[in-house]
């Protein structure tokens, strides 16, 4: 609870600045657009269809789309556009907020009494005077209703900005979901909902103030909104120390390692910022583009997804070739492996493996016809499974797919003998399992490797701060740390687990 609440002010601040800016842009673009569309009947239908279309794209996808879009735009214009963080989140959210504002703007203009408009012309108002003295005040309730809708949507959707590396209240929600830390999720949700309610309430106050010609209501509402934004905009003073941006994908191990990196860098005198919950594809491109400075990825993932390779060399050669290719192509530095793998592995209960005398997959192949395999849902359709099955001639008595939780249950109650595991999963330790060795190297290697952005690739002070991590994390300790965060009782935060891991 305490650590979630401690993170709250900074995340709330970032959330307010982001959603406030997005709504402001949507208003500044949307209102003139609506006014223009109200006067151009032919343009109205396609315009409303277009902003409506934007709305049908799931917010998460819209945010993700801006990452490659900004990269391409930046490359085409030779501009250093930040493709990660504030800018893509801002653009996506502003686009998202456009629909209710434009639609209500058009409706507000259409709903105006014709007689009143004729009178406005008749008394000699210029177009500008008619807009400010008649159209806006009379359309205000409908306009404001649109702005209220946009505000509530945007504040909610801004939690998704976390996925493109922009800190928001979503950081609490996403990391909480991954580590099953429901208090974090709850704090994040409550804060976002509370913020939306407060903003909606203040806008409602302005709305009734306009309707009842009550200036104090309008002033109070506007004043409090402005004060909130101003407060959020005041940045806490930044020290002279350079700020390092640390990336993390969206699961416990990544949170723990990112927290560990942050600890090391703090000790070396750096300030750090965290970009959590990055998609797998986003994370590598972000480090290549310099949007993040350092993060942990897995050699097999980079090998297949980034280099597009399908062959399967032994781990040391894979790592060496990978390091060379990434450095040459993107200037990204592969600093080294942390000392453990997070790969697909076949695991068994220790007692059962000992009873059957099995220590490698080659041993397993002999016993397999009497054994049952429990796998996660995708394992049996993945190339890793085909590779290991064909290499060793595995032929189980039966195979069944489970969701991960039930897969471990099945092995615990004896309804399965072998399971497909991630080698650094904390449950391997918790259930007292052993992973079987792979003498033929049929399963690709997924070594955890530190990647450093081109900007920091030759920064010796920075690299020196990270080098002690190379080879420093044995698989058993990583499993234990993962378990501390994932287990149901005596749960630790990723920060606590990181401190334990690297102590």
């Amino acid at each position: 609870m305490n650590e979630a609440v401690a993170a709250l002010p900074e995340l709330l601040r970032a959330h307010i600045v982001l959603s406030g800016a997005a709504i402001a842009i949507a208003i500044l673009v949307g209102l003139p657009l609506a006014l223009w569309a109200a006067g151009h009947k032919r343009a109205r239908v396609p315009l409303l269809a277009l902003v409506g279309l934007v709305q049908t794209i799931p917010a998460l996808a819209l945010l993700a789309l801006f990452y490659p879009l900004l990269l391409l735009t930046g490359a085409a214009l030779h501009l250093a556009l930040p493709a990660l963080g504030f800018l893509p989140a801002l653009i996506a959210l502003a686009l998202y907020a456009l629909l209710p504002i434009v639609r209500n703007g058009v409706a507000a203009r259409e709903g105006l009494d014709r007689g009143v408009l004729e009178a406005a012309d008749g008394v000699g108002m210029t177009r500008r005077q008619r807009l400010w003295l008649v159209e806006l005040p009379l359309g205000a309730p409908v306009l404001l209703a649109g702005i209220r809708t946009a505000a509530v949507w945007t504040i909610g959707a801004a939690t998704l900005a976390t996925t493109v590396g922009q800190p928001s209240l979503g950081n609490l929600i996403f990391s909480g979901l991954q580590t099953e830390n429901w208090i974090r999720v709850l704090v994040g949700c409550a804060a976002a909902a509370g913020l939306a309610l407060v903003v909606d309430g203040l806008l409602a106050l302005i709305e009734t103030g306009l309707a009842r010609r009550s200036p104090w209501r309008v002033r109070t509402g506007l004043g409090l909104l402005a004060a909130g934004l101003a407060l959020a905009l005041i940045q806490p003073g930044r020290g002279p120390a350079p700020t390092i941006v640390i990336g993390a994908k969206n699961f416990s191990e990544q949170y723990i390692l990112a927290a560990g990196l942050a600890d090391r860098l703090h000790a070396a005198g750096y300030r750090t910022e965290l970009r959590e919950d990055l998609g797998s594809a986003v994370a590598y491109r972000a480090v290549a583009a310099g949007d993040i400075d350092v993060y942990v990825d897995y050699s097999g993932t980079l090998w297949t997804n980034v280099l597009g390779r399908t062959d399967n060399p032994p781990a040391p050669r894979l790592r060496a070739e990978l390091a060379e290719a990434l450095a040459k192509r993107d200037g990204v530095r592969l600093l080294g492996t942390l000392g453990f793998e997070n790969a697909y592995a076949l695991a068994m209960r220790r007692s059962r493996a000992q009873a059957l005398g099995l220590s490698s997959i080659a041993d397993l192949a002999r016993a397999a016809p009497r054994l049952h395999l429990a796998s996660d849902i995708e394992f049996l359709s993945r190339p890793e499974w085909r590779s290991v099955r064909d290499a060793y001639g595995l032929n189980f008595a039966g195979t069944r797919s489970y969701s991960p939780t039930f897969m471990y249950r099945a092995i615990a109650d004896g309804s399965a003998d072998v399971l497909s595991a991630f080698s650094s999963d904390g449950r391997i330790a918790a259930f007292d399992l052993v992973t079987l060795s792979d003498p033929k190297h049929a399963l690709p290697s997924y070594e955890a490797v530190l990647l450093v952005s081109p900007r920091r690739a030759h920064d010796e002070r920075f690299l020196a701060a990270l080098r002690p991590l190379i080879g420093a994390i044995p698989i058993e300790r990583m499993r234990q740390a993962n378990l501390m965060v994932d287990r149901d009782s005596d749960k630790k935060s990723p920060e606590e687990a990181a401190r334990w891991l690297l102590e």
Partner: protein, 257 residues
């Protein structure tokens, strides 16, 4: 040299597709005259009125106000010199009565204090109590609202008043009362008024000059008495016969015959 008329319309034509709302129409109006524009629906009365303050732009012809082409000014500046009253009234619902009356002054940057004084003066002119200034339009009856509409049109002291069926939506008693009250104001303030109406008796009883419009052309143009005596055009005759016969029947009823 003869002084030019206050208003001169010359060869006005306005087409809506194949239909001509105005068909080469010309008309001079001298200052101080109360002109009633009468005619059946679709005869072009309202179109004619709106070409004067440029709510409608004619396809051909021109409008001269005070010897100057109305297109010489931006429409907003022109309209501030012309009072405009119409059937829907169009009071601004978010402004109180005083603000509505003084809107024309606000547009030209008159100070609030002066505006309030002028609004109070106009409320009195249209025979509304002074405390109406603070009411909202929604709290007014139809007759009261149109009195405010007239006051709003008069506020910038226009030389010309354009009225489009101004009392058409009111009940007969209020309508008669407002019509006569406005005629009195017209005389007292020395206004020039062009009023569109489809009610011939209203036209005959209020105006100095009745212009009958049929199919976008002027079919009769005479003082009421002359029109009653010798409206020769059969269609004009038919329009005048309606109130005349009504009056005769009413008189007969009264006599008991």
């Amino acid at each position: 040299m003869e002084t030019p008329p206050l208003l001169r319309l010359q060869g006005l034509t306005k087409r809506h597709g194949a239909h001509a709302a105005l068909d080469g129409l010309s008309l001079d109006v001298a200052a101080g005259t109360f002109v009633a524009l009468v005619g059946p629906s679709g005869s072009g009365k309202t179109t004619l009125l709106k070409t004067i303050n440029r709510l409608v732009e004619p396809d051909e012809g021109m409008v001269m106000l005070g010897g100057e082409d109305v297109r010489a000014l931006p429409p907003s500046a022109l309209r501030r010199r012309i009072g405009y009253v119409f059937q829907e009234i169009g009071l601004f619902p978010h402004m109180d009565v005083a603000e509505n009356i003084a809107i024309g002054l606000r547009l030209t940057g008159v100070r609030p204090q002066e505006r309030r004084a002028r609004a109070a003066e106009l409320l009195e002119r249209v025979a509304l109590p002074a405390d109406f200034g603070g009411r909202m339009p929604s709290a007014l009856s139809g007759g009261q609202a149109q009195r405010v509409g007239v006051a709003r049109a008069l506020a910038p002291k226009p030389a010309l008043m354009l009225m489009d069926e101004p009392f058409g939506a009111l009940d007969p008693v209020t309508r008669d009362e407002l019509g006569r009250a406005y005629r009195a104001l017209h005389d007292r303030l020395g206004l020039t008024t062009i009023m569109v109406t489809h009610d011939m008796s209203e036209a005959l009883l209020l105006a100095d000059r009745v212009v009958v419009l049929i199919g976008g052309r002027i079919r009769a143009d005479a003082p009421p008495a002359a029109l009653m005596r010798d409206g020769l055009d059969p269609e004009v005759r038919a329009l005048i016969d309606v109130p005349r016969r009504q009056a005769e029947r009413l008189a007969a009823l009264e006599r008991g015959t």
